[in-house]
Each structure stands twice: as structure tokens, then as C-alpha cells.
Symmetry: D2
Subunit: 339 residues, 4 copies
Amino acid sequence: MGKYMTVKVGINGYGTVGKRVADAISLQDDMEIVGVAKRSPTYGAEMAVEKGYPFYAASDKYLDEFDRKDIPVEGMLEDLLDEAEIIIDGTPKKSGYKPMYEKAGVKAIWQGGEDHEMTGLSFNSMANFDEALGADYLRVVSCNTTGLLRTLYPIHRDIGLERCTAVMIRRGADPWDTSRGPINSINPVLNIPSHHGPDVQSVVPGINIQTTAVKVPTTIMHLHSVTVDLKKDVDTDEILRTWDETPRIKFFNESMGVDSTAKVMEWARDRSNDRADLNEIAVWNDAVKVEDGVLYYYQAIHQESDIVPENIDAIRAMTELEEDKMKSIRKTNEGMGIE
Amino acid sequence: MGKYMTVKVGINGYGTVGKRVADAISLQDDMEIVGVAKRSPTYGAEMAVEKGYPFYAASDKYLDEFDRKDIPVEGMLEDLLDEAEIIIDGTPKKSGYKPMYEKAGVKAIWQGGEDHEMTGLSFNSMANFDEALGADYLRVVSCNTTGLLRTLYPIHRDIGLERCTAVMIRRGADPWDTSRGPINSINPVLNIPSHHGPDVQSVVPGINIQTTAVKVPTTIMHLHSVTVDLKKDVDTDEILRTWDETPRIKFFNESMGVDSTAKVMEWARDRSNDRADLNEIAVWNDAVKVEDGVLYYYQAIHQESDIVPENIDAIRAMTELEEDKMKSIRKTNEGMGIE
Amino acid sequence: MGKYMTVKVGINGYGTVGKRVADAISLQDDMEIVGVAKRSPTYGAEMAVEKGYPFYAASDKYLDEFDRKDIPVEGMLEDLLDEAEIIIDGTPKKSGYKPMYEKAGVKAIWQGGEDHEMTGLSFNSMANFDEALGADYLRVVSCNTTGLLRTLYPIHRDIGLERCTAVMIRRGADPWDTSRGPINSINPVLNIPSHHGPDVQSVVPGINIQTTAVKVPTTIMHLHSVTVDLKKDVDTDEILRTWDETPRIKFFNESMGVDSTAKVMEWARDRSNDRADLNEIAVWNDAVKVEDGVLYYYQAIHQESDIVPENIDAIRAMTELEEDKMKSIRKTNEGMGIE
Amino acid sequence: MGKYMTVKVGINGYGTVGKRVADAISLQDDMEIVGVAKRSPTYGAEMAVEKGYPFYAASDKYLDEFDRKDIPVEGMLEDLLDEAEIIIDGTPKKSGYKPMYEKAGVKAIWQGGEDHEMTGLSFNSMANFDEALGADYLRVVSCNTTGLLRTLYPIHRDIGLERCTAVMIRRGADPWDTSRGPINSINPVLNIPSHHGPDVQSVVPGINIQTTAVKVPTTIMHLHSVTVDLKKDVDTDEILRTWDETPRIKFFNESMGVDSTAKVMEWARDRSNDRADLNEIAVWNDAVKVEDGVLYYYQAIHQESDIVPENIDAIRAMTELEEDKMKSIRKTNEGMGIE
């Protein structure tokens, strides 16, 4: 694909993921939004139009309402599929759009809510960019799995990971989803181990990992307490050096005044991050410890936004806009303002 | 003061208020930050420097630490007072800096944590801009009192307000303040009525208002349920028209998909507001009702940011940069991206 | 009905209300549980059996499961209706059992989730016990409406209530209902005024009341901030005296160390109340204030248990076990350990 | 000690621990409360008197206030020390009463807030009852450490424990402590590993355990996600059998309808446990899994009450009322209604 060509991307589903990936695409110079499809006439429709994204209706149920609100509808979802080369599917899990994409002959990227089996290819930028080159369909793994891969993959690659246990303390609900709890409860996921271990292995089969998870009454960030038996007996500094050289990991510590997920979120606000998001994984570098060949660390995951840059890299790999992993990652980061 | 002159503003205290007012000032063309003074070496110091604000130490306790973190310290707070014409005091309440400002001969603006008596002048842009012209000291009233004045003052002025009762459901803690609760409790303010009524009257003595308040386990937004006995029997539309013409009031409603404070916050994120703030007061226009001469409405207050534009207007009034209230408000709003 | 006869009561629905009313009935000497009907095989079924309540299946869906768990099933709901003179309906709202009760010829008591229209008689012990004498069907109004009536009715009767506004800060979910939120949000009820005003009037038509409501991230207790324009200008002491003479109102205050709903709940635990319930309405007597003929007060409502004694009184009135209101209330209270 | 003698116990500090241990003592026939000492005149003082506990003032600061509230004060703390053979110290951590107890020649039991070093003997009923026989001073370890020992000790003893990692999701505040957070935050304990590992080892030196911990916005229950490398390759059933035979472990599962800490708490309420407490450790038996010699399980800890029966056993051991561990445990359990 030539230098002056841009990939035409359509967004199906303009919720938590769709709206973020749309904005990230518009910050890249080698891809463009040809349209956004949305079902319901909530304020996002108006905002999409204000941002200059051509607006398509994902169903005909609310066409009158879009009309009443002066939302210019360019067409239906089917029309958008004709315009796009690749679709970001940000619809609720199991929405079942794959046959429609196949029929229209567009590539598509799903998110972590879907099973690995639907596409046969689960994606993380650092771990398996090369496998995605030219692919038609893939899914970007969930925010938690992406977070685990960001920190575990470089250790797996450089040091060796004998075995890993991760306990995931998960936020209870999306920040806007005020119908969901829990309130004053800790809810364990009683299927032990949880699905996140196999999910990591769907990207990197060789990682020996078991995970458990609980849900708590917070929004926005998950926190992981991770234990890793290392294959080589390295010291804490070597772990920190490995992560320091890895993109999309950001260190926080008490000396900065950051000792909680709330303070990580405040940092993201103070840095003027768009939507107060944090695309990086937050690692407390003063709480990383290697003892007797075992690594302990905490990391926090911004549930809505860590997977956004992975979607951008996936577009590049699938359309072969860029075949070099590190070049794509750097380009994505520069566009999005990730350090 | 001439067109090419800018007022030199110093910030004492770079926390919730200080950092926001600093950024708002840097968006105005008639004022500039000559320095920011901060006590502790948390990450804010580094961010202030990155934003290009000259950095001053508010105490000598952490000078070594600033040095270790490569924060270039321009001087001490006293030095900043020499540079500035006017100080935004964003220090914790009752910090007691007034004598130091008097000695240095600088004007100063305090926030709602201070008593009215300290300055004798309590400020809200719409309600009493003119009283602040040329003043040396004033306090911008608290976020809740500012919120009450934004919606009540225009009704008081245009329609007449016989009597008002406001019940304030207050967020429990600042979003970063993870030491404070409550958890799973509703805490009533047992001094009835609460101090917010007298606080409104410190700006507009004629408003007959009683307030009660409770604290709940949330962050970022307060919500008020307000009942007003009107002097004239107008209909709901006239109330909405009055507010529609008033700056810094923003309507939300269920048809937009916004039926909670969390969704107001999400809207502010989606609008790419800096820090995901909301300088306007959120009023649910589909839940405004006049019945038998009594007005009922809900409003939500972004606790950290509604008072920021009032600080900017106060600077203009006190330094007589601009003597026309509406011109100042419009200029502030344009700079800050308030509709 | 003779001294040695007891009313035979069946419980349909053994959840939040059903299990509590069952235990309260077993503490009275003039009524008895002839059976409890439950749908699902969760632990409550076993506990009901351990308490000696004959167990009936409310559907045949889980008969195998009851069998596997060794729960002795006495029969189906229809069989229970044959045994009982009166049914406490604690099923989810709009479950639609009325035709079945009519066919079986049993009296029935519903809860606040049902509309007034279904029975035409809405009940509160103090306010309209006499209207329930001999009735076949009634509903005990909701926990919030019961709470409002407990404190407003005696003022309406003795002093006169010109007009009332109540703002209700509601708990987000039942304590066990960990699927419901909100988390970090305040959700206003956008239908202004809320349904609680008309609900109060369904019991005492003469009370002029408007209500608004918000939902917050807590469990167990609601809190009301109430404003009342009195018909007579009485002082605070007269209000307190009136409530002191009214059953099922309990005073709390800061001097006791109780300044939040959490501390009211702790008091109920320390008093060894069963299930840590509080059947009384909690009023902060140090935060009751009359100013210029207007009464301000806060009250807290134990959402699960304030309506339990009303159900007992309703049984007595409907079956004419006791025709004197105060005698029934006293008998209920003594049995239940209410002061 | 003869059958008709009872040990005379004094309670110093009538808060979360003190009030519970006092009630537990009054349910045993071989010990009695000779007095309760409390500092502040909150409602607990009145309740202690109502329960028939002689009341002593822990300081002279509020003597007037006790008088005003008609609390009969039997004497000062020093007087109580003269009456008692053994003191339960339920005062805030580091209150420093040891010299006073030494001077008075009374035995004393502290709680988990104190360091091991103060007494040199850290106690858990199952793990080291025998070491406490005749001891003058000991501390009952914290609720979390007690919980870990309850499930880990029998595995250590019967099966062998190669290594253990426990991640502790801790409730943010005591249920009555409405000043403490966090709200909408997960706060990791940045000292890795946390102090709970060494705390377990202060009772059973041989257990190889590392712990990490986070704080979340809930009250009442902690939850642990535990990973254990076993010395012998046993199956899940053997683990369950071991725990089934161990006192003070209670199984919960989804089939009972209990899949969260909130539902465990609801179960404790439904069982009419005093204060809705749960003295047992809650283990989800359907989420216990052994895979490749590694055991995974979740347990939940009632932060206020699991240590209460350990205090009773400690009294028996220290005073040699009973020298047989299992007899003491059974006697304590019977008195307290623990299955």
C-alpha cells in the first residue's frame, strides 16, 4: 500500500471501545474513519457527528429519533461495510456480525468479549504482531489479558517464566453503567482458575499461568497481584530494566504520591490524557520484588483504554500498512501521545 | 490596563484548585502564570514544570527532594509574592497566609474553605461581579454554594424567590483522597440547617434559603434536590428559558442517555474536557417541574471544577482588566472551551 | 375469635420480607405459621425447615433439587392455600397471585411493590388500622412510605401539616443483591415528584406531600431529609414529645455516638436485634429543628424490616383477632422486642 | 480449678473486640465478666450496663458525662485490675497498658494490632493451644492471620505445605468507622510481601508463606485467594475432608445461593447469629481445586468476629481451666453456638 494511501476503517458499535478506537484512528496519518455505526440515539451520536465522523445507523429502530435530533444519517450499517476495508467491532459480545462482514468482504477486529475460536487469532501487539500480518479476522484480547501479556511476555521472552499465578481484583462495572454492582461485597469468580489464564495462552501458548479473580465496588481500574516463578534467578533491577524497555508500561510509586488506583487515575487526569484514560499498564516499581527466584508485583489496568493502541497496531498488521512490529508500536504511540 | 499588558498571577497551593486555575489562566490572553508554589514533592511538581510554570517551594522542608528529582526551584514562596500582582490561594483551609500577602502587597483570592469574614467579600461571577471591581481580597465561594447561586440567582433576579430548600447529597471524598470515607453509610450533617444557606446569603443577602446535607460513598459530583417557592407563578418553560440564557448551566436529560452523575461524568470525558472536568452546573431539564407555584429541580456539581471560571472572572474584576461582567464571563468561557 | 385459637398464616415467597414476617409471627401467641412456600432451593429452604416451618414448593421446577438436599416438601403452594386463613405475599412485585388466593378463599397481604389499586386498601398501623378490620386484601406500603407515615401521621393528627417535602436518599440494592449498583454514582429519580408522595396519600389522603429521590451506593438504610410547613407554630420540644409518644420511632444522636446510618446499623447489631434489623424509624433528635413554623428533620429507614410489625398488625386487623389499634401495636412490639 | 470456680475476666476497651469477647464469655460456664472498662460515653456504656456488666471508667475525662447519662461507674480501670485474674485488652493498638497489668499482677490477652514481640507468644487455638498453657501474656493474632491459620495449619500438619501465596482483598474500614475510605479505589499494600506472612510464622514457624494485600471499598469481610504447593499430591476431596474435620471452618457454595461475601453475611443474619457475626472462616467448597499438586481456594474472613472464640480458648489455656485443646475448642463452640 502506497505512502499516500490511508486505510479506510469503519466502526461498528460506538460505545466504550468504539469511541476510543475512533479517536485513536483519527490521530494516525495512515488510516481514516469512513464511518461510525451506532444503534441508539444517545448523546454519542451527536458527538460523533461533531467530531466529523460520518454517521451510520446500525438498526432502523431509531431512524425517526435521529431525524428528530438532527443527526445526519449517511446510511445503514450495510452501507458502511461497503465503504470500509476493515471494521472495528465494538458491539456487545456475541452480537454475531461475522457473517455480515464476510458477505461484505471486509476485514474485522473484535474485542476480548468474543471467544478465541471465532477468529482463531488472538492478538497482542508485542507478543504476536507478526501472526496478524495480512489476517482477515482477529480479536484483541480483553483489557485484563492485555495487561498480563504486557508485563509477562517480555519476562517470558528474556528471562523465562516457569509458572505464574495472578489474582485479579476487578472493577465491578463500567463507570457509566450505574445499574451494576456489587455494593459492599467482594464477589469471587468461583470457576477456579478463571478464564484469563487460557486467554493469555491463546496469544502465547507457552506461558504457564493460573488466574483467579474477584469483583469489587469500584470503577475504571482493575488491579493484579502477580506471582511468577522465574526460570533464571535475576534480581529486581533486571526485571525493572526489562519493563522499562517495553512499550506501554508506566511506572508509578509512593515517592510520586501514587499509592492507589485512584491516584493513578488522578495522574492520568493531570496529564490531560483524553477522557482521563491510561493506555499504559501501571506498575508500582517500588513494589516489585524478587525473592528466592520468585517475582512479586502489582499492576493496574485501565479497563477501557489499554486495548486501544492494540487495535491500531492490529489494523496495521492486518492491512500490511506496516510489517515491522516496533515501527507500528512507535507510530501508534506517537500519534496517541503515549510516552 | 492596556491591551498588551497581562496580569501576573501566582498560584499558592498546587492541589485540586490550584492546578486547575493555573491551567485556566494559561488559556486566557490577558493574564499569565508567573509561578506556582507547592509544598510537597509529589508528581504535581514535575508536571507543573513540564507545563512551563516557574516552580517555587512553599516550604524548605523538601528542597533536597526537589533537587533529587531535578525539579528546578526558582525560589521560595516569598519570592513568588514579589513577582505576582495577585495570588490564587489554593492551600488547605485556614492555612493563614493573609498576613504574608498583606506584607507583600499582593491581591489574593481564597476558596470556599475560608470564612466570609476573612475577606468580607464572597464572590460569584453572575451574582456580584461588580462588587469585586478593584477589590484586594475576596473568596470564591465553595463548589456547592457556587452551584446554588448559578441556578438560584437568575430566578431571584427575574422571577423572585420566596423561599428555597436545598438538600445536598455530597460526595464523600476527593477522587484522589483514598483515606476518607464513608463506605456503606449515609452521613447526615446534623447541624440543621447546614452552612450552605448562610454561604449563599454571603453573596446575595436577599435569598431566603435553608439547606441540609448528607455525605455518601461517591467521588467527584455532588447532587442537589432543590425546592423553590416562586414569587410569580410562571411555568416550567420560563424557568428553562431563564437558565438557558444563563452562562455555565448545562442541560442533561434521559433522552441523551444521561440519568445519573456517572453519566454526566462520562459525557465530560467524551467531550474531551480537560481532566474530564465540568465547569458548568448540570441540570436535568426533563426533571424541572413547577407545580402550584413551587419549582422542583435536581442539579449536579462537579466538586473540583465549577469554581475555576469564577476564579478567572475574579482576577479580572479585582485587577479591573475588564469591568463588564458579561464580557468577562464570555471571555473566560471562550478561553476555557465552555459553551 | 377465642383466646385459644390462633390464626393460621401461610407465607408465599421466603425472601427479604417473607422470612422476616415468618419469624415475627412465630414470636406472637395469637397466630402461627402453617407453611412457607418458596421457589428456589437456596439455603433459605433448609433454614425454614430447621426453624420448624412446614415447607411447600411454590413451583415444581426444583422438586428434584429439594429432594436431593433432603428438604421435606409438604406439598405445593396450592396445598398451603388450603391450610391457611391468610397469606403473606412476599413474592416479587407483580407476581400476580391474586386470582389464586381468590379461588382458594384466603385473605392476603401484599407489600409496597404492588399498586394501591390491586387491593384498594393501603395500610399503616398507626394511620389506618381501623380501615383494615375484616378486610380480605390489603397492601402494607413500602419501607419508605411506612417511614414517612410513622413520623408525619402524628404531626398531621396533632399539630397539622400544611405541606411537606421529603428528599429520599435511597440505598442502591438489597444487601445480598450483588448484581445491582450504582457504583460511584448518584442516580436521581427523574420523575418529579416521585411516587412516594401519592403513596403516602393512598393511606392518608389529606397529607400534602411532594417527594424526590436519589439512589446511592449503599445497602440496608434509606435516609430522608424532610421539610414540613406546620399548621400551628409549635416548638421543637413539642415535635419531639409527639414522636416520643408514638410507637416505632427511635431517637439517635451524636451524644450517643451515632451520626450516620452505619452507626445506627451498628447499634442494632449491638442490641442483638435479630438479623441486625431495626423495626423502628431512626430519627436524629438532635437534628430536629423548627424555625419560622417550618420543621426540618432527618430520619433513616431500615429497608428490610420496618414493615414487618405492620404486617403483624394487618393480620390482626383483617382477621379481627384484635380490634383495638394500640393493643395490637403493643402486642406486636412486645412479641418482637420493640421498645 | 474446681467445677464451681469461674475465672474472673476483665475487659479493657469495649469496642469491636471487647464487646464481642465480653458476650462470648457470658455464654461460657467456667468464666465470668467482673467488669468492663471504657473511655468514652457513647451508647456502648449504657448497653454494657444493661447487659449486667459492672462498668469501670478507663479515664476520668468523661466521669461527668457518665454521671449525666446515669451510667453507674463501679470504679476506675485500676480497680477493675484488682478484681480480675485476666484482662482482655481490646484497646486501640499500641495503647501501652502492659506495665499497668504487670503492676497489678493480672494476666492479659492482646489482639492482632500488637507486635509479636510484646508478649513473645502469638496464639491460634488449633495451631498452638498447648504453648499457651499457664502463660501470663499472649496476643491472639489478627483476623486475617487467624483465617490463614485455620485453613493452612491442618494442611501443614496432615499433608504438608511446600509453599503458600495468599492475596488478601481487605475491607476498607470497620462498618461503623464512616470516616475511613477508600471510595472508588483499590489500594495495594506496597510493602511486598505484607506483614501477614511473618505473622502466620509467629504462630507456626515452619509455614513457608508470602502474602500481598489490597484494600477495597467494602466493610465487614476480607477475602483471600490462596495458592498452596502441596508436599503430597492429594486430590480435592482429601483437602475438603481435612477441613470438614477442622473446627471453625464453614463451607459455602453456589448451590446454596452464596457466591459473594454479601451473601455470606446474609447467611449469618438469617442464622440469627448475634450481631450477624460469623466466627467461622467461610470457604467456598465448590471453588477448591487441586491441579498438578497445587491447591487453589478462596476464603472469607469476618473481620470483627473470627478471633472471638480464640480469645475464649486463650483464657482457658492461660488459666489452665482446661488443658486439652479439643475439649476447650468444643466447649467454646458449644457456648457460642458454633456448629
